[in-house]
Symmetry: C2
Subunit: 355 residues, 2 copies
């Protein structure tokens, strides 16, 4: 484990997480697993139809992979606070499954065609099945809270509070993101408001993962909050780095070049440019964003304006500062362990990754 990079760490963890998800959400429903998931039926369950409409879309999406950094983060938080990996392993499915649910639904909301190298779920199963499968992922993993018999009720109640609060925040973050990239409320946005939207949209699930780990490990309310803030900042930094890669990515980057410009997103890069550009270039950038165009020449023109005002460096430095500042609070409360070292590496990973 010594000297391991975050990438290797994540890679080794992935099959463990996949196995755990499969324990709770089967690839094929049968009478036993349906009864376990839904309770005693009054009439008769339809195991084949449940497999077709719930398991199949679910596993079609999950088998595509993903970084799975939220489960890893939860495990590291718990380990850094003195718990064993097995003490939190059931709970890692909560932020991971919910995260995937939000991706399924995001793809429908954005009208996206591809996700992780395959057609989006609604392209394969139809919009109706896909919306329902996506939102079922918000609740299905919470079955680990219902079924848990080891953790005291008071602590389980706290875990529920965390999940619900962060889900509310995710829905607000998503609402603002949609509204803004439709260009419906352009005067609303400034740097502080954009970062708050990211904190809700991307930070909230990271907070959820960190808080679950910390609460199960028995951290004080104050320490839980410090760790949650660090996680939120990692989430926001991830988002900022995503914004940067979207414009300046190397070969490893899997998404479409300039997609954010096409979607008209007011990212930190755009906001910084609009604050600093001269009137003519400012007007032109807004014009291109509102076109929702995929034309390379226009995308490149927008990107050139953004680069001219050093917005990439600005955003990168902002993200670096963000994780450094929030790490300081966490650094003080955690004893020196291998898990702590990895959490520290996580902060770098969020900002420095090239994919």
């Amino acid at each position: 484990m010594k000297g391991e990079t975050i990438e290797t760490f994540l890679e080794k963890l992935r099959p463990v997480i996949d196995k755990k998800i499969e324990e709770w959400i089967p690839r094929k429903y049968d009478d036993r697993s349906m009864k376990f998931t839904l309770g005693e039926p009054r009439y008769e369950n339809s195991v084949n139809s449940a497999t077709k409409s719930i398991s199949e879309p679910f596993w079609d999406f999950f088998d595509r992979g993903g970084k799975k950094w939220r489960p890893a983060f939860m495990i590291l938080v718990a380990e850094a606070l003195g718990k064993k990996r097995n003490d939190v392993l059931d709970f890692v499915i909560i932020p991971e499954v919910i995260h995937n649910g939000t991706l399924v639904v995001d793809d429908i909301e954005d009208g996206s065609d591809m996700r992780r190298g395959k057609p989006t779920l609604h392209k394969i199963f139809g919009m109706d099945i896909a919306i329902n499968a996506g939102s079922s992922m918000y609740f299905l993993p919470l079955i680990v809270l219902i079924k848990n018999k080891e953790i005291p009720a008071e602590k389980l109640k706290k875990l529920y509070d965390v999940v619900v609060q962060e889900m509310i925040n995710v829905s607000f973050g998503q609402a603002l993101d949609i509204l803004w990239h439709k260009g419906d409320d352009p005067d609303e946005i400034n740097e502080e408001k954009y970062l708050q939207m990211c904190a809700y949209k991307t930070g909230a699930l990271a907070r959820m993962a960190a808080k679950i780990g910390a609460i199960i490990a028995g951290a004080s309310e104050k320490d839980v909050e410090k760790i949650a803030e660090f996680a939120e900042c990692i989430g926001v930094a991830f988002q900022i780095q995503d914004d940067i890669l979207n414009i300046a990515a190397g070969k490893k980057w899997g998404k479409e070049f300039g997609e954010d410009i096409k979607e008209g997103k007011r990212t930190l890069l755009v906001i910084h440019t609009l604050q600093n550009a001269d009137e003519r270039e400012k007007k032109r950038l807004v014009e291109i964003l509102n076109m929702h165009t995929g034309e390379t020449k226009l995308l490149q023109e927008a990107i050139d304006i953004i680069k001219k005002y050093d917005s990439l460096e600005y955003a990168k430095n902002y993200a670096r500062r963000l994780v450094e500042d929030s790490w300081r609070n966490v650094d003080k409360i955690l004893p020196d362990t291998e898990a702590k070292k990895k959490l520290r590496m996580f902060a770098n990973f969020a900002v420095e990754r090239e994919f």
Copy 2:
């Protein structure tokens, strides 16, 4: 209150419920209500954008009305078990807001144009805002559980368990309903499986309402389950009566005539007909269902086949027996009160209503 009909009772309750919802989910967000709902922001909240993307779609939908029978049911259960209305009033928003969220999402899944006399939410706000508003309604009302300081943690944990379990069941019910009316798995369906789908899709939210009322009132686990079963049966009976009215409605019925046939739904009426009709008529009925046609002549032909085999009477009697049977268990455990009388009337209302 004596001699009051269920209709009058519901009518008087509606403004009380609306006011309660407005207390928790404001028509306009401001700094105070956003902080209350989302926690302390790290950066800066966008109150206007939150109002535009969350409150406005929410209230556009809520102001359209609806029977609001689930909150009424929760109140009656609590009262019948010796609690005051005020002891559960915060919690009635849970099943009611969630129910409305499922309608918003159902309309998108079904591609419906109208709901409660107005264009569906996605027709007004766009699919992206509408999907997000709909799913935010699954979590927003649970804030009453986070904020509650009076009920012990153990009981609140039980309430969370109930909400999550029933939401899982709703998502399975919806999944089966979608799959089946697409005609994707026609051989799967029989009467017992159809009723189980209804128990999940329509019964689960009724169960949720009843269980919350009964748990807060301190009923034993056994009694909670009996009341939940009664509620589930009322939900299923409501669905059966909906199916009947869809084909045989008088003037009071607000929905489109024969819509279920158009959507290809395998309702109890259809299943009973397919079990009893001769080969030729059976084949013809399936043919029309699979056409997804709105042509009056064809709809009428399907309805004539359904009526010929007494399927309306069969379904009506089935629904009546269902609520009668489940009432007997509840009858035994509740003392004679005005609330109990109303619960009894509810059972009739579900089956005998004409709208």
